[in-house]
C-alpha cells in the first residue's frame, strides 16, 4: 500500500507546487488542496484493494484466533473454511463461496472501471 502511494506521490509533477508557493499557500494548504486531490486516484485504488483484502483475509485470523473467542473474530472466509473442512458441508460452503464471489465481483468491477478511467 505504501509502495502504491509512493508511486502515486512520485508521479505528481512539480508545477502545481510551484504555483501554490507563488500564491502564498501554507504547507498544510498545499497538502490539502494540491497533494490530496492529485493523489485521489491512488488513494481510491488503495482503498479498493484493501477492501478486497478484507473480504479475503484468512491466514492471520486463522492462526491468531480461529474466529474465536466464540464467533467474535469470524470472517466470511473463515466461516466457509470451517463449514467445508471441519463440518464437511461442502454444498453449503460452495453456496457461500458463490455469493462471496458475487460480492467481490461488484467491487472488482468498480475497481476495473477506475483503472480504465486512469488510462
Amino acid at each position: 500500500m505504501f509502495l502504491v502511494l509512493l508511486a502515486g506521490l512520485q508521479a505528481i509533477p512539480q508545477e502545481p507546487y510551484e504555483a501554490a508557493l507563488i500564491d502564498g499557500s501554507s504547507r498544510w494548504q498545499t497538502f490539502r488542496h494540491v497533494t490530496l486531490p492529485l493523489l485521489k486516484p491512488a488513494i481510491l485504488i488503495v482503498l479498493l484493494l484493501r477492501t478486497m483484502d478484507l473480504l479475503r483475509v484468512f491466514d492471520q485470523i486463522f492462526i491468531l484466533t480461529e474466529g474465536g473467542p466464540g464467533f467474535a473474530t469470524e470472517t466470511v472466509s473463515l466461516y466457509i473454511y470451517r463449514t467445508a473442512f471441519r463440518f464437511f458441508d461442502f454444498g453449503y460452503a460452495a453456496a457461500m463461496s458463490f455469493v462471496l464471489l458475487g460480492v467481490t465481483n461488484v467491487v472488482s468491477v468498480v475497481y476495473l472501471r477506475l483503472l480504465q478511467d486512469e488510462r
Binding site: F2, L3, V4, L6, A7, G8, Q10, A11, P41, A42, I45, M52, L55, R56, F58, D59, F62, I63, V76, S77, I80, Y81, A84, F85, F90, A93, A94, S97, F98, L100, L101, T104, N105, V107, S108, Y111, L112, L115, E118, R119
Partner: protein, 281 residues
C-alpha cells in the same frame, strides 16, 4: 530564528514518522528472532527480556533435526520453484500473444481484464472446488496438487506484469528479426526475452514469494508431513496441549530468510512492479 527552529521541528517530524512506521512493522519480526534464541523460561519472563538474555540454538536444533521442518522447507522450495517456472512459461507466452496480436471486437483487451479479475476473488472461494477436484484426482497430500494450484494462482499476475513489459518493447525489433528470417518463437526467445529479462526476474521473484508464503491452499490440500509446506508446518505447532513458541519462531526465522534476500536483491523492480497497473505514472 523562528524559521530555523520550525525547520528543525519539521525535519524531526520527517524522520520520526517513518521510523515510527518501521518500528511498528518490524517489532514482531524482532520479537520472533529473539524468541527463537531464548530459552523457554526467558520467553515467558515478566517483565519481558528485551535485549539481555542468554542466546541458545536449541530451538533451531529441535525444529530442523528433531522435527521434520527440514522436510517442510524442502517441500516449500520445490513447490515454489516448480510452480514459478510453470507460471512464467505459460504466462509469458500468453502475455506476448495479448500484446502482439489483434483479436476481433477488441477481445484481447477484454481477455486481459478477465484474466486480471481472477486475481481479485478471495482464495477461499476456490478452495472448496479445488479440494474436491484434487480429491477425485487422488492428488491430495502431494506436491503436484500445490504446484498446479500455485501455477494457476500466479498466472494472472505473470500475464499482467509481462504484458506491461512487452508493451514497452518496440515492435520494430522483432519485425527486424522476422525479416531476417527468424520464426515468431525465435524472435520471442532471442530478441524480446533478453530485453525484458529484468522484468522477467522481478515477476519470478514475486511468484516465488507468493508461493512461499501461501497458506490457505497448502492447509486445505496437504495434511501429511511428506507434502506439508513450511507455513502450514509452523502453524501446526499450535496444539491442544502446548504451543512450541521457540520451534515456531526458529522455523519462522528460517522461512523469512529467502524472502528477505530476494526482496533486497529485487527492491528496485518490486517497487516498479507493484506500481505497474495500479497507477500509470
Amino acid at each position: 530564528m523562528r524559521g530555523r527552529r520550525k525547520g528543525i521541528f519539521q525535519r524531526g517530524l520527517v524522520v520520526v514518522a517513518p521510523v515510527a512506521a518501521l518500528v511498528v512493522a518490524l517489532a514482531p519480526v524482532y520479537w520472533m528472532i529473539t524468541i527463537s534464541l531464548k530459552t523457554e523460561v526467558d520467553q515467558f519472563a515478566s517483565p519481558p527480556k528485551w535485549f539481555a538474555f542468554t542466546p541458545t540454538l536449541q530451538h533451531y536444533y529441535d525444529a530442523f533435526v528433531t522435527r521434520s521442518f527440514g522436510q517442510y522447507l524442502l517441500t516449500s522450495a520445490i513447490v515454489a520453484v516448480v510452480s514459478t517456472a510453470c507460471a512464467l512459461t505459460i504466462g509469458t507466452a500468453a502475455a506476448y500473444a495479448l500484446t502482439r496480436f489483434r483479436l476481433p471486437y477488441g477481445l484481447e483487451r477484454r481477455l486481459s481484464l478477465w484474466i486480471l479479475s481472477t486475481r481479485m476473488f478471495p482464495a477461499i472461494v476456490t478452495a472448496v472446488p479445488l479440494f474436491l477436484m484434487m480429491r477425485d484426482l487422488r492428488l491430495l497430500n502431494t506436491k503436484a496438487s500445490l504446484i498446479i494450484v500455485y501455477t494457476a494462482f500466479n498466472l494472472p499476475f505473470v500475464v499482467w506484469m509481462m504484458r506491461g513489459f512487452f508493451a514497452e518493447v518496440p515492435r520494430d525489433l522483432e519485425e527486424a528479426a522476422l525479416v531476417d528470417g527468424d520464426s515468431r518463437l525465435g524472435a520471442l526467445v532471442r530478441v524480446i526475452l533478453p530485453l525484458v529479462s529484468p522484468g522477467l526476474a522481478a515477476t519470478a521473484v514475486f511468484c516465488l514469494i507468493v508461493s512461499w508464503n501461501e497458506f490457505l491452499f497448502a492447509l486445505v490440500l496437504t495434511q501429511t508431513d511428506a507434502a506439508m509446506t513450511l507455513p502450514v508446518g509452523i502453524a501446526g505447532r499450535v496444539t491442544q496441549y502446548e504451543i512450541k513458541w521457540g520451534v515456531m519462531s526458529a522455523a519462522g526465522v528460517v522461512a523469512m530468510m529467502p524472502i528477505l534476500v530476494f526482496a533486497l536483491a529485487m527492491q528496485r523492480y518490486l517497487v516498479r512492479g507493484l506500481s505497474l497497473g495500479a497507477v500509470k505514472g
